[in-house]
């Protein structure tokens, strides 16, 4: 999103805070993210969720994350292992909740007021079906189908409601962990980027790549990803997760790591070629 952590802090500073046109935005005052950026990690308690070292993680990724944790320890942070026991059900819960909301959010693309409109429809139903069949891509249609199914009469309790209950468990996991530590560390993704289209035929394998970032999406917490190494010339991300509204902490840890690791050395050959 940005070239370095300081830029991310500047960007966040300008977009954070209450938006009167968005009722879900917080009324809390926005702290000065830049002023706390350089405070370092000395004396900070950092947790490493054991569940984030998932099966199927690439050895190079695991190595880079362990190196990153050691580097932060050398900067004065105390490291301890923590547990987020419901991490394994975060992905299934997310792939119920997100498609359910998406199926409804995307209903407005019906060809009536704006956007793509199919030609040749003989009646209203046909116009809806043709417009949406032709206008949406395969992955979007898959998610609309998943979400519509999850919200359907007779399935709501088993899927959407259950997923929301799981979400509460994940929120509680994080709450407990943050009683012991200031921030959590883990990989952003268990593997480096796979080739474009490589997992299109196997959506579950593709969704599994989000397995470590999804909990943060559900858990009322904030997270940042910062480059921490390369494998086969592709970047590896270190994820820092902090409690909700503690973006200052996440930025502070990420900045300390970036400074100690000397980010420029981690540039991908691809990026150097482009530059």
């Amino acid at each position: 999103m940005t070239r370095d952590v300081a830029d991310a802090a500047v960007l966040l500073q300008s977009i954070a805070g209450h938006d009167p046109r968005d009722s879900t935005s917080s009324q809390k005052p926005v702290p000065d993210y830049l002023s706390s950026l350089q405070r370092g990690v000395k004396g900070m308690r950092l947790g490493v969720p054991k569940e984030y070292f998932v099966a199927g993680m690439e050895p190079a990724v695991e190595q880079a994350i362990n190196d990153a944790i050691r580097l932060l320890e050398q900067q004065g942070a105390s490291i301890q292992e923590v547990s987020l026991p419901h991490s394994d059900v975060a992905l299934p819960a997310y792939y119920i909740i997100a498609p359910a909301e998406a199926s409804s959010n995307l209903a407005r693309y019906d060809g009536v007021r704006y956007g793509y409109q199919a030609e040749g429809a003989k009646n209203l139903i046909e116009e809806y079906v043709m417009t949406r069949q032709q206008g949406f891509g395969a992955e979007v249609k898959r998610r609309i189908m998943l979400g519509t199914y999850a919200l359907s009469s007779g399935y709501y309790d088993a899927y959407y409601l259950q997923a929301q209950k799981v979400r509460t468990l994940i929120i509680d996991d994080f709450k407990r962990a943050f009683e012991k530590v200031d921030a959590l560390l883990g990989a952003t993704s268990p593997t480096v980027a796979f080739p474009l289209g490589a997992k299109t035929q196997d959506p579950v394998a593709m969704y599994l790549n989000d397995i470590i970032t999804i909990p943060a999406n559900l858990g009322n917490v904030c997270g940042i990803s910062v480059p921490c190494g390369l494998a086969d010339g592709l970047p590896i991300g270190l994820q820092v997760i902090a409690p909700g509204f503690r973006e200052d902490t996440a930025l502070q840890v990420a900045y300390a790591f970036e400074a100690a690791a000397d980010f420029r050395k981690l540039q991908s050959p691809l990026m150097r070629a482009a530059a």
Binding site: T24, R108, R113
Partner: protein
């Protein structure tokens, strides 16, 4: 009706009432959709443009809570909005923001009366949602080659007031809606206009054998745009369902539309094709906590409601329960009446005038009392002229009609004040003599104690004087002369 002895009628009503707010439910657009040019009052939010988000209109929530309090509902501390998902061109987002399992209120009741008898109907819930846009078809919907959408109404706040299945006849259903409408007007949340759709009513109608506890198959009747339509549609539906059951048939759960011109209901949708609305909590809006202080504040601002006003008119002004019910069924009418009394009109006479000729003229013209040129002061003065004997009741009726028909009632009223009623005994004596001479038989009857005969003689005297004789003086002179 033979029906009533064999089947019990069960009716529940869903009333949709547009909330009288300046701006829409989730955006700042004006709620004026009747006069504004098509799609003039729209914005990215009420058009459902990508990226726009809803913001709750506090006044609409307040109006809903006020309504719920007037209907004796419980107001839970926790409430939320949900999405009701379905596709239709008048629904910009592909879902309606409504309330599903945690509405603003539940468990209320509405008291009303049918022909002077007290009735009570449970209120299941009052919740808040947004109205849809309006389609305009090119010609009849079946043949239309194209349809236009006007989104001015989309997002106008709409309350849904759901009753328990406590109503037992078309009469009860009509009276329930009349009383509900009066309450909504009294508390200033809705203008009560059914013709323009600002107040709409759907009915769930079913029959069950007398004494049976379980409900029969229900049919939802839509598209009833007046009190008369509500009554007729339910009556029709009772008859139709009775016929099906009598013939040994089975009813299907369905939605039927009332066709006022053809005076029948037509099937629109059966249960098999019913929509699955896929309700889920609206993620774009936070859940709401309704503080007890806020509820108390709204409660303290509630005005006198029709039931209380009705009791007061009976107890303090001596009106009959029936007159009091009809007068209080419309806030403007009740205010008109009370203003007349304040100006000195005798309550009974004021009520008779308002509920008599005045209402008849208003109904014929499809007008509300506040639209009439005759104001409370005019009618009060007219009644004073009768009471002081300046004009007769008959003349007053003629004068009233002239006042009503004119944009300015003053000239007719002034003319009546000046028009000399024949009150002088000298002038009346001639009339009395002629009446006695021409109606010997009645004179004899009256002497024999028949009170009716005197009324006849007075009537003859009024006729002779072309309605100008003072009836009280005329009666006195007749009695004097005959005895």
């Amino acid at each position: 009706m033979a029906v009533a002895t064999r089947y019990e009628v069960v009716v529940g009503l869903e009333v949709h009432a547009q909330v009288l707010t300046q701006s829409k439910m989730f955006c700042g657009c004006s709620t004026d959709y009747l006069v504004a040019p098509p799609n003039a009052n729209t914005c990215p939010v009420c058009l459902g443009l990508p990226g726009s988000l809803p913001v709750i209109n506090r006044r609409a929530v307040e109006a809903t809570i006020r309504t719920a309090l007037a209907l004796n509902c419980e107001i839970p501390e926790f409430s939320k909005f949900d999405r009701k998902n379905y596709f239709y061109p008048d629904l910009p987002k592909g879902y309606q923001i409504s309330q599903h399992d945690l509405p603003f209120s539940r468990n209320g009741r509405l008291e009303f009366d049918v022909k002077g008898e007290a009735r009570r109907c449970g209120i299941t819930r009052v919740h808040l949602e947004e109205d849809t846009g309006k389609l305009q078809h090119e010609g009849a919907i079946e043949q239309a080659q194209s349809s236009l959408v006007n989104f001015n109404r989309a997002g106008v706040p709409l309350m849904e007031i759901v009753s328990e299945p406590d109503l037992r006849s078309a009469d009860e259903a009509r009276e329930y809606v009349m009383r509900l409408r009066a309450i909504l007007q009294y508390i200033g949340v809705n203008n009560g206009d059914m013709e323009s759709g600002q107040l709409r009513c759907d009915a769930n109608v079913s029959l069950r054998p007398m004494g049976q506890a379980e409900f029969g198959t229900k049919v939802e009747v839509k598209n009833m745009n007046s009190f008369r339509a509500i009554h007729r549609a339910i009556e029709y539906e009772i008859e139709r369902q009775t016929e099906v059951l009598e013939a040994g048939g089975r009813l299907v759960q369905e939605t039927r539309g009332w066709n006022d011109a053809r005076a029948l209901t037509v099937s629109q949708r059966t249960k098999e094709f019913a929509e699955d609305y896929r309700y889920f909590p609206e993620p774009d809006l936070p859940p709401l906590e309704v503080s007890r202080e806020w509820v108390a504040e709204i409660r303290s601002q509630l005005p006198e409601l029709p039931a209380a006003r009705r009791e007061r008119l009976i107890a303090d002004l001596g009106l009959t329960p029936y007159d009091a019910s009809v007068l209080t069924s419309s806030k403007p009418m009740a205010e008109y009446f009370e203003e007349m009394v304040r100006l000195g009109a005798p309550p009974k006479a004021a009520a008779n005038w308002i509920l008599g000729d005045f209402s008849r003229f208003l109904n014929a013209d499809h007008k509300e009392i506040q639209e009439a040129s005759v104001k409370p002061a005019h009618l009060q003065q007219l009644i004073a002229l009768i009471d002081s004997g300046v004009i007769s009741g008959k003349m007053a009726k003629q004068t009233f009609e002239m006042m009503y028909r004119s944009p300015d009632p003053e000239p007719a009223l002034t003319a009546a004040k000046g028009s000399s009623q024949i009150s002088g005994d000298a002038e009346l004596a001639g009339i009395v003599d002629q009446v006695i001479a021409e109606n010997e038989k009645s004179v004899v009857d009256f002497k024999a104690g028949k009170a009716q005969a005197l009324k006849f003689l007075i009537g003859q005297g009024m006729k002779l004087s072309k309605g100008r004789a003072n009836p009280q003086r005329l009666e006195a002179l007749l009695r004097e002369k005959i005895s």
